[in-house]
Symmetry: C2
């Protein structure tokens, strides 16, 4: 697959882009980084040109030989199916299910409720910009409460036993956001521990926001 | 797999339960229906007993021989991996990716933003109960705008060509909710057409809310 041309539309601080960057690093897939600035120019993801790439007007989008795939979790599944080296999922169907359950808690029950677009709508609805962080904390805590309990049962070194799996790919960005919104992590020792473990893995490090070509000095 | 004991914790009108019921019907898996009433008793999903089954306190949960899997999309993937009869996904990795992209648009970008819990928070935030439907319509429209464009490119009889796939399993409940919140479906001819086609398939019919043992006469 090495001759394929792979492009990732990404934003350095986007949680969903981050997950995919880890998978690409992990599977040693060379890719071109195409930055989409979510704030500049009223949001470059809303441009007519990018809307044709991804009609949801969101990042990431992965282009492989001219084929476009959107939605980070769909991209992860595709990469795992097609690039078989360095597996990102265990073989046992039940472990795979638990990893996807954890991944979906982050990907459905947490991240979508505290992304840029939704927080904008929250500020508009409440007429109070300061409600954004409170709203974000509420949903991150709600999801982390459930995730932490699953980790108590299923985690080892990583989210599901001692093998890296999809769930782990979703941890760093969500913990980063938790810190960004000043969530107290004390009730989540397993999430914090696994995040710490993951942060020392070179492929996870390379995928971090500050190591991206479009990284900026964080302002919040 | 026929001797396995399968239990589905479900609520008749839950979108996420509905998706899983279609898969179970489609794969001819006999299961025990365990109703969890999301409104009665302050929400039976919040009970101590059910929280042990599913720490996210949400439906569905699937029990197979004592193993628990939560999050509907994780359950779909598990069923497809383990029960190989009547496949719910095409073989081609790119088509699978597009189906999952569509599924995740509904599963991450729409449904989580307009479920019972979030609409409660919206009412609380705005201090105005009538904001709930407006909020729900906004996010369903946002997701349907993207989904409709993908369907223009990829759909055939169903969401991705002429084979049933995961994306189709997510359509009926989301269109049902769109109607419930009075969303004008005129801009979404492909979504409406596919929903109509799916509604005549026996397995889809059996999974409908009103055909569940805990169905009630809808009040809204």
């Amino acid at each position: 697959m090495n001759e394929e041309k792979v492009i990732l539309y990404s934003y350095w601080r986007s949680s969903c882009s981050w997950r995919v960057r880890i998978a690409l690093e992990y599977k040693r897939i060379k890719y071109e980084y195409a930055p989409i600035h979510l704030l500049k120019d009223g949001g470059q993801q809303k441009s007519e040109e990018y809307s044709k790439v991804n009609p949801m007007k969101s990042v990431p989008s992965l282009i492989i030989n001219g084929h476009v795939i959107g939605q980070s979790l769909a991209i992860l599944e595709y990469l795992e199916e097609v690039y078989t080296i360095n597996p990102l999922m265990p073989k046992d169907p039940l472990k795979r299910a638990i990893s996807r359950q954890m991944m979906q808690i982050i990907g459905s029950d947490i991240q979508p409720l505290q992304n840029l677009k939704v927080l904008g709508a929250v500020a508009q609805l409440s007429g109070d910009d300061s409600k954004k962080a409170e709203w974000a904390r509420q949903w991150i805590a709600n999801g982390f409460n459930g995730l932490e309990k699953l980790l108590e049962i299923h985690s080892g070194k990583y989210c599901v036993g001692d093998e890296i799996s999809f769930a782990d790919l979703c941890i760093p960005a969500q913990v980063y956001n938790a810190h960004r919104f000043n969530l107290d992590m004390t009730p989540y020792p397993n999430i914090a521990r696994i995040n710490e473990t993951l942060s020392s893995i070179p492929e996870f490090k390379s995928a971090e926001p500050l190591n991206q070509p479009d990284a900026e000095k964080p302002t919040c």
